[in-house]
Symmetry: none
């Protein structure tokens, strides 16, 4: 029905892949700029100079486009963050790397994060088993962090007297608030915030005998 969705047997054209990416980027920027509610297809189309009809041609509809936006951002984030985290070996170093690489990514791709926050806050794509887009768990971040914290606790890499679930939520909150904060205060200094947050959670999780 619509091309490039994998539904048809034919591989997507080069031009088409480019257009899709272009539209996805336009959607991200538009949502980040004017908010989800006002990011109509017409407005998104205007940004790249295409008609709203074309979006219907390349994507199944608005829902599909939004899905692709989420997938795009999540994948870009993972590609950035994962290597930096797993390059570290000790617990505190990993946690620091996690926080700092998350915030560095946000700093580098402000509109990406703003857009995702906008989308998720609109409650789209919420199912009974969490936040899912085409079967992929978009809310996986907190869960993965939870598991990693618990694992590091078990290995004695982090102090044992905190609840890893609550800690994961608090850490993700400190990270995820940034897009929102940027909207409220364009002067917000992410680098400074990054250092401070890393320090806060370092103090809250570092085993007492290390430094």
């Amino acid at each position: 029905m619509c091309p490039g969705t994998g539904a048809t047997g034919k591989p997507p054209t080069f031009t088409e892949v480019a257009r899709r990416a272009q539209i996805i980027e336009a959607a991200i920027e538009t949502i980040a700029e004017v908010g989800f509610a006002k990011a109509s297809l017409a407005r998104i189309g205007q940004r790249v100079g295409v008609s709203k009809g074309l979006i219907g041609y390349h994507f199944g509809g608005k829902d599909d486009l939004i899905k692709q936006v989420l997938i795009r951002v999540v994948e870009a984030g993972r590609a950035y963050i994962f290597p930096r985290v797993f390059a570290e070996s000790t617990g505190p170093a990993r946690l620091r790397a996690y926080i700092e690489s998350n915030l560095a990514f946000m700093s580098a791709h402000r509109s990406y994060m703003v857009a995702v926050v906008e989308i998720l806050r609109h409650g789209a794509f919420k199912t009974d088993s969490g936040l899912r887009v085409d079967g992929r768990d978009i809310d996986v971040a907190a869960r993965l962090l939870h598991e990693e914290l618990a694992r590091l606790q078990g290995q004695g890499e982090l102090r044992s007297d905190f609840d890893p679930g609550a800690m994961a939520v608090a850490i993700r909150a400190a990270i995820d608030v940034v897009p929102h904060r940027i909207i409220l205060d364009p002067q917000f200094d992410i680098e400074n915030y990054s250092r401070e947050v890393a320090l806060i959670f370092d103090r809250a999780t570092r085993p007492s005998d290390t430094n």
Copy 2:
């Protein structure tokens, strides 16, 4: 044109004050339940058995109603939180009281917080100088917390080697994420989370020579 807004000279009648409050409550519950996007005036009106026309009569329009919702929630929150914070004298105790009373208020008024989060994430009411509703600073929470942390630092009530601005943002983030988290996970245990968050920020701010 519309009563009770201060625009007319006449004081609002009792009936009117009650109706306005009733509608504001209905708006809060509706938004919390079905989300901002689907909270049409008709739906809000249905909840209290009032026509949408009447909402237009009592409020200038949807925007005005939403403003009143924000004001209502902010004031209710302050009335709950402020006394509990200022009942404490030491820095760490105040911070703990701040975090715990905030979360206790959320626990007691889930729909209030969910509604506010829904509204704010829709980007309404953002001005160049932050989040303002009829001149009142809705985002004042972080700023007040920032100032209070700085003051306590200056008095030696809290350790001096953290940035109070960043700390305030992180603390607010840990608090404000709760409504969102509730939506994602209805099983979320606020009381446990409250204790853990208080502990995290206690460790991050308590002067080294106290306990």
Copy 3:
């Protein structure tokens, strides 16, 4: 959500009943005139000088409006036809009354029938168990006729050597073709056709020993 649908407890206003009837009539005439496919809500609204928005206000949507049209026509038809049929006692007389009253109704309400034919041919409202609108069997005509023919056969009121099912279909066909024929040939003489059809099926069903 929308008034007069029986969903709300309140009884529909007089004005509202009138408007609904007015819009239903307009829909019938519009569909009869320009065909189902081109009978947009805007066009229907134009005919009575109301906005398409109002149709959405009085009816749940286009589907609901179409349903109401069907119900309206079917009920009007029954009210006309039933008494005339059951006023007769012998088999041949009943059949003649059935055919003639059907065609007389069509003659009197051409647009009604044209509209229904238009709607039904669009395949709307077809379910596995026939043609249903809100649980009512719209295609009941052929079935009722089938049963009545079989009953009259059993009583010796009609000859026994025809298949009542096939006969019912042929009779309904001769009746239901009229709206279509009117469209093709506005000069079509229903009265003459009515007599001829009654005669055709009289000859095909009258017991051999009667006259």
Copy 4:
């Protein structure tokens, strides 16, 4: 501009004739299957694996394609029915052959008839002088039957006390209802219906002194 329409001087190539036929068949099947309203060019193209652009190339547009469908079906029907009718010599035999060959053709080409019914009911191609496609009379069936009945009456081959026009309409109705009936009731037994209808109209038209 578009080939094979007779507009250009060049004769249509073999490939082109084949493609056109292929697309026409696809259109017939698609319309029969999903209905006229949902038979978009894209969908029709999918069925034979060609792009909708190609349809625009081979036909002037959707209207033209639909015209070709009608012409195709009418011609196929004639080729089937005419020889069978004119193989009979007596009036009653001809009429029986007419009815039965019509219904046999429908039985053998259900999608052809369903498609035509779908198309005609959409009111396309109606002109002041009946149903015309490129000057050809699509609704000729009833007229031809009318004339033939009148001719046979004049020759004493059929009884003289019926109106041949009304009779023709009733007969065509009994025939044309079948596609519709098939849609409503997939179990519909055409062969049985065919016999019964032939009998009905035999009784209505056979001269009283023959058997």
